[in-house]
């Protein structure tokens, strides 16, 4: 059997599939890309048993065949090849896959493909079109707040739900919380779901390759997104996300509005001297118009900086993990941000001040 495929398409399919393929799995075939050549199309599949991807590429072939090749081998090989290549020939020869290019030829060892699992499909569910951009923006705005530990599956997930006319993305590791609201495009519908945040990273990467609109379908256990012959399927968590809205303070005792870039720079300077817990000390005094940021590390030294801020409310002294605060700026497009404090043991609320205000971030203080 011989099969001819566009080099560009092959490279794209392999690079998309390679990152999803399992690493350090007990089953060797899971770290492979399965190439399933049928009449006129080749399907590239990879899965880590959490997320599965399937990529369809048109080919010219004189037969059919299935083979599994280690993902990192084929990917490293192709990524080094000059992009001027046009057409590539794939040919399975006695346990190997021969990849013939104009100036180079690779003979890749294959792995028996029988053990490669079927990627489940979302059955009994409606397929709805959904703008890709909304999903990408939503996931990227919050995923870094999810918990990296797997003790509580719902906290290491991105919670997606519909609230009146918006689609809401939320994630929290219980120390900070990020929420992003995006107006739900006309006609789009979404079921509430908990997507493991690691999977949301995979999904986002795939969505970026999928074009402006995806077909989304979900049931109790799975969600899948599909467009242009690419489909990504992820497990979803069957659990309950805490009703976090009750934690969001309704008012504030102290408010400071600062230029985002000012705060970013100050925190960068401060973090040089922060301790192992990234502790940074904020001292705000609206009456004296002072906003001081202090860090101290007995092994390194200390730093004290002032930030220009418009403030009102009561004076406050409070400590935070510097990293938790700076994390939020990646989701804020506005030039200035508002910091709202509610006393010593209450979360700090960070919001963009102008422009797109659909983002909300909460950080808990440190207790010493």
């Amino acid at each position: 059997m011989k099969c001819e495929i566009s080099f560009e398409k092959l490279k794209q399919a392999v690079s998309l599939a390679e990152r999803t393929a399992g690493r350090r799995t007990t089953l060797p075939v899971l770290s492979c890309i399965l190439i399933d050549i049928r009449k006129n199309t080749a399907v590239f599949k990879a899965t880590n048993l959490d997320v599965g991807v399937e990529i369809e590429v048109p080919v010219k072939t004189d037969g059919e065949g299935i083979f599994a090749v280690p993902a990192h081998v084929i990917s490293s090989f192709l990524s080094q090849i000059d992009n001027k290549e046009q057409i590539v020939r794939l040919e399975p020869v006695s346990g190997n896959l021969n990849i013939t290019l104009s100036k180079s030829k690779g003979v890749l060892k294959t792995v028996p493909s029988e053990d490669f699992p079927a990627i489940p499909t979302v059955s009994d569910a409606k397929t709805v079109p959904f703008p890709t951009e909304v999903l990408i923006k939503g996931f990227k705005s919050v995923w870094y707040s999810a918990s990296v530990s797997n003790v509580k599956p719902e906290l290491s997930s991105v919670y997606v739900y519909k609230d009146s006319d918006s689609i809401v993305f939320a994630a929290t590791d219980s120390f900070r919380l990020a929420e992003k609201r995006i107006p739900l495009p006309k006609g789009a519908e979404i079921e509430e779901m908990l997507i493991p945040f690691k999977n949301s990273v995979e999904i986002t990467r795939m969505l970026e390759a999928l074009g402006p609109t995806v077909s989304m379908s979900s049931n109790k256990n799975l969600v899948s997104f599909e467009a242009n012959g690419i489909r990504v399927t992820s497990r979803i968590i069957n659990g309950v996300f805490p009703d976090y809205k009750q934690i969001i303070p309704k008012g504030f005792a102290t408010e400071a509005v600062v230029l985002k870039q000012d705060l970013i720079n100050t925190l960068k300077v401060s973090s040089v001297f922060s301790d192992t817990f990234n502790q940074v000390h904020f001292a705000l005094d609206p009456k004296k118009k002072e906003f001081n940021v202090e860090t101290k590390n007995s092994d390194v030294g200390e730093n004290k900086s002032d930030i220009d801020a418009a403030m009102n409310g009561e004076a406050i002294d409070i400590n935070f993990n510097c990293k938790y605060i700076s994390d939020s700026f990646q989701s804020i497009d506005a030039d200035s941000v508002s910091l709202q404090f509610n006393g010593k043991n209450k979360p700090l609320v960070i919001r963009p001040v102008s422009g797109d205000q659909s983002f909300l971030y909460l950080v808990m203080p440190m207790n010493r």
Partner: protein, 447 residues
């Protein structure tokens, strides 16, 4: 070890020899037999990937092995097991994070029962005013469905109705893990019904509620004047009652005085236990203030506690709000607040007396007597209109001190003597007519 896990252990030993080690540890690691019914074995699997693959690749092999052990096994079904919270790995746990964590554990409202875990009997403050309701609630949780079915608690907002009925749900859930408890507000019940009717899924809606052993419905006064909801609810009510399943309700007034409630429904509420949660007495209020202070970790002088308890009379939620503000302020100032400061907080944070227009009074009275508002302003002398009109005049004069001529003018240009006559007539009748006096008390609370 139960029979299922023993059976599965034995089966796994056989499976292990039949498949490769890699396959075995990938696909069978987190599996278990959940239950077996009528020859069908339900196998718990961690995710759809495993389900799909076991079904496709190993289904027959597993079934054959199970059948060798137990001839009755006919088929095999897969169930995706909900991933529970894992116990943290003690070795990997780093030094305790110095950042405080959000009290998220308080905010898990399970979709299966809608109950808020924060509402428990332990946090419910019992005083002379609510001890009867509390006792009845306690009794019911011991044998749900057997005594006091249905239970209806009524009382004004902020008296702890929701707390008590949710605490019952939480307690029943703890005592009887097999009983399915469900809490929702009447408004949500109505909305769900509406959606179900629009989508032609009325049957699924009914089926859903039939599953529950204990149904807790908050704020049933919402059904007032909504016939379709009452109809649907009536059937559900009968079903629960007949099958001895517990119903628990709350309302802001006695079912007899909820306007626009069908008589048959009213009768059914009354057939169970209807209990009032009245205004808390001074002593209980003081106790509540102290208890709330303790949870917020603030100390208040006896004088301050008494002052708060005597200023806020009828609403526990308001007490909670004020204590919250005091806690917040004293934390900032880092000292105990003076009585004067507390007086100021109270002044700024208690509900001001409501300002009402004549129109509002007419509207409320008309709703109560089920009349259209115009009739009050019209010149009709029909008996069913005259009486409510007189009630309006009486309330405006007695409670709001409006002058007789302006009452007359605002109610469709009547002479002030007509108003004086009506006022005096009502005043006299109230003394003898118990029903009328009850109606007026009720109306006052609605304004």
């Amino acid at each position: 070890m139960n029979d299922f896990s023993k059976m599965w252990q034995t089966a796994l030993i056989e499976i292990e020899t039949a498949v490769s080690q890699a396959n075995f540890s990938t696909w069978f690691k987190e599996t278990a037999i959940l239950r077996s019914e009528d020859g069908t074995v339900y196998l718990g699997v961690p995710n759809s990937f495993t389900q799909e693959w076991l079904q496709k690749k190993f289904h027959n092999a597993i079934l054959r092995i199970l059948r060798q052990m137990d001839e009755k096994v006919r088929s095999l079904e897969y169930v995706i097991v909900k991933e529970g919270s894992k116990a943290p790995n003690p070795k990997k746990q780093a030094a305790p994070a110095p950042t405080m964590s959000m009290p998220l554990q308080d905010f898990y409202i399970s979709k299966d029962d809608n109950l808020n875990p924060r509402y428990t009997f332990e946090t419910f403050i019992v005083g002379p005013f609510n001890e009867l309701a509390h006792a009845a609630a306690q009794t019911i949780t011991k044998t749900p469905g057997q005594v006091y079915n249905p239970l209806l608690l009524y009382g004004e907002t902020g008296r702890g109705k929701t707390h008590l009925i949710q605490a019952m749900g939480n307690r029943i859930k703890a005592l009887f893990p097999n009983k399915k408890v469900f809490y929702l507000t009447s408004e949500r019940f109505g909305n769900e019904l509406l959606t179900a009717l629009q989508e032609g899924k009325a049957r699924q809606f009914k089926e859903k509620y039939r599953e529950y052993d204990v149904l807790i419905l908050d704020d049933v006064q919402f059904f007032s004047g909504k016939e379709k909801f009452q109809e649907e609810f009536f059937h559900l009510f009968n079903l629960f009652k007949e099958s001895g399943r517990q119903l628990i309700f709350s309302s802001d007034k006695h079912p007899n005085v909820i306007p626009g409630l069908e008589d048959r429904l009213r009768g059914r509420f009354n057939a169970g236990m209807v209990l009032d949660i009245p205004e808390p007495d001074q002593e209980s209020r003081a106790y509540i203030v102290r208890a709330k202070c303790a949870t917020y970790n603030v100390t208040l002088s006896g004088e301050a506690v008494e002052h708060i308890a005597s200023t806020i009379k009828d609403n526990i939620r308001e007490i909670e709000g004020v204590v919250n503000i005091i806690a917040c302020q004293s934390q900032f100032k880092n000292r105990e607040l003076s009585l004067n400061e507390i007086r100021n907080i109270l002044k700024n944070n208690t509900k001001p007396k409501k300002l009402l227009s004549v129109k509002d009074v007419v509207k409320t009275v008309c709703e109560f007597y089920n009349l259209s508002e115009e009739t009050i302003y019209n010149k009709t002398r029909r008996k069913e209109v005259v009486r409510p009109r007189q009630v309006v005049m009486y309330i405006l004069r007695e409670d709001f001190n409006v002058s007789f001529p302006s009452i007359g003018e605002k109610l469709g240009g009547r002479d002030h003597t007509t108003v004086i006559h009506s006022y005096n007539k009502m005043k006299e009748e109230i003394k003898t007519d118990a029903l009328l006096s009850q109606e007026i008390t009720q109306l006052r609370s609605m304004l």
